[in-house]
Structures are given as structure tokens and as C-alpha cells.
């Protein structure tokens, strides 16, 4: 497939309460095989998806948070987190999992995939995308 489109995954829902976060992640992983330009946004309650310290042992639910760590291996390394959404929930970037990737253009240096952005920057990301998948 020759055409490259900008795929934007907009994650606005918290994990566990509903299945959307888990099944969105499954789309991202499958979609990574298609050689498209992929970006993820975590905003509103979606920021809870990448909260560190998730432990589902006592709930009996499947803890899928480690899978976010694997995104870098799938060349999914543009992960945008909205500052306003974090702040509104009393969190900072330190509350999130340290998602990283190895930069092949920089001697495989390990770098953070997380880019903190403002609501205005989120607006631009949406306007620049070709396909918006919302979950």
C-alpha cells in the first residue's frame, strides 16, 4: 500500500470501567503493522489508561497496562498527553508510566514517547490527521 495516512487514536476513556481502552490498544497494535503514520492522544479520562502502579490482582480484571510499554517496539512513539486533562485530575507526568522507544536515528538511544501538549496543540493534531479513531 503506497499511501501513508496520519492515523490519530483519541483515547478519552478510563480503563477497566469499560472495555474501550483495552480494545483501542488492540487496534493500535494491529494497525502498527500497516506502516501508517500513527499518533496517540490521551486526554480527558483517557489519561488514566497510562497511570503507573495499575494493579488488578484483587479485582480479577486483566491488567493490560504493561502493553503500553511495548508500543515503542511497534514504532508507535508519538504519544501525546494533554496537560490540562492531567492537571484537572490532580496528576503530573510523574504519575504516568515512563513509556519509551529506541531511536534508530540516534544510535538506538532510549527516549520518552510521551509528549505533553496543551489543548491548543491537541486541536492542531486533530486538524492535521487523516483518520481519527475515537475510543
Amino acid at each position: 500500500m503506497s499511501e501513508i495516512k496520519n492515523f490519530l487514536y483519541v483515547n478519552r476513556k478510563a480503563p477497566y470501567g469499560t472495555v474501550y481502552a483495552l480494545e483501542s490498544l488492540e487496534v493500535v497494535l494491529i494497525g502498527a503493522a500497516f506502516d501508517q503514520d500513527v499518533s496517540l492522544i490521551f486526554m480527558d479520562d483517557g489519561v488514566f489508561q497510562i497511570k503507573k502502579d495499575q494493579n488488578t490482582e484483587a479485582s480479577g480484571l486483566k491488567n493490560f497496562s504493561p502493553t503500553y510499554n511495548a508500543l515503542g517496539d511497534y514504532d508507535v512513539n508519538k504519544i501525546y498527553v494533554e496537560k490540562e486533562s492531567l492537571e484537572a485530575r490532580g496528576m503530573t507526568i510523574d504519575d504516568l508510566m515512563p513509556l519509551t522507544y529506541e531511536d534508530e536515528d540516534d544510535d538506538w538511544a532510549e527516549k520518552s514517547s510521551i509528549r505533553m501538549v496543551s489543548a491548543d496543540e491537541i486541536r492542531d493534531l486533530m486538524e492535521e490527521s487523516d483518520v481519527v479513531l475515537s475510543f
Binding site: D44, A119, M126, E127
Partner: protein
């Protein structure tokens, strides 16, 4: 850009978040329970002036709120919905 909102603003933050992120020249289409965002005199009515807001006529009618719509909110039928989708290159659903 076309934004589609299908949640009541009184139950979920989809409409408020959409209005906080939509560019001024975009169109916001209200469908399903999203049409309640177009109620005249509501606590979210002041957000309606931020962009062009359109409501799906059949969902407005089903909920009996046609007479309650805020001024400036246009209505479209499903054919008009299709036109909004084809006229706008980018589409985002605030599900």
C-alpha cells in the same frame, strides 16, 4: 473539520471537551443524546457560539425538544449529515 457529539452534556464531558478543542471554523454535529447540548437557556448554552452547531433533526424530534433549541442551531436530516461528512475532510467522533 466536522466534530460529532452523541452524549448529553449533562451526563458526560464529550460536548464540553469537544467545544474546548474544536477550531472556530469547524462544525459540531449533535446526534443521539448529544442534541441536549442545544437546549436554550441551559448551563452549556453559552458554548454554542464557539463554532457552527448543527443538530440531527430526527434525534431532536424524537426527544421532543425542537421548540427548546437555542437560536442559531441549524438542523439537518440524514442526507444533510452525509453532506457534512463529505464536505469536511476530517471527522472526529467524541464517543
Amino acid at each position: 473539520m466536522l466534530h460529532i457529539v452523541n452524549k448529553s452534556p449533562f451526563e458526560r464531558d464529550a460536548f464540553t471537551s469537544c467545544m474546548a478543542h474544536a477550531a472556530a471554523d469547524s462544525t459540531v454535529l449533535l446526534i443521539e443524546d448529544g442534541v441536549f447540548a442545544a437546549m436554550k437557556g441551559s448551563t452549556v448554552a453559552d458554548q454554542l457560539s464557539k463554532t457552527k452547531v448543527v443538530a440531527l433533526q430526527s434525534d431532536v424530534a424524537a426527544r421532543g425538544i425542537e421548540a427548546n433549541l437555542a437560536d442559531g442551531v441549524e438542523m439537518v436530516d440524514y442526507a444533510g449529515f452525509v453532506d457534512l461528512v463529505t464536505d469536511n475532510e476530517k471527522i472526529q467522533s467524541w464517543v
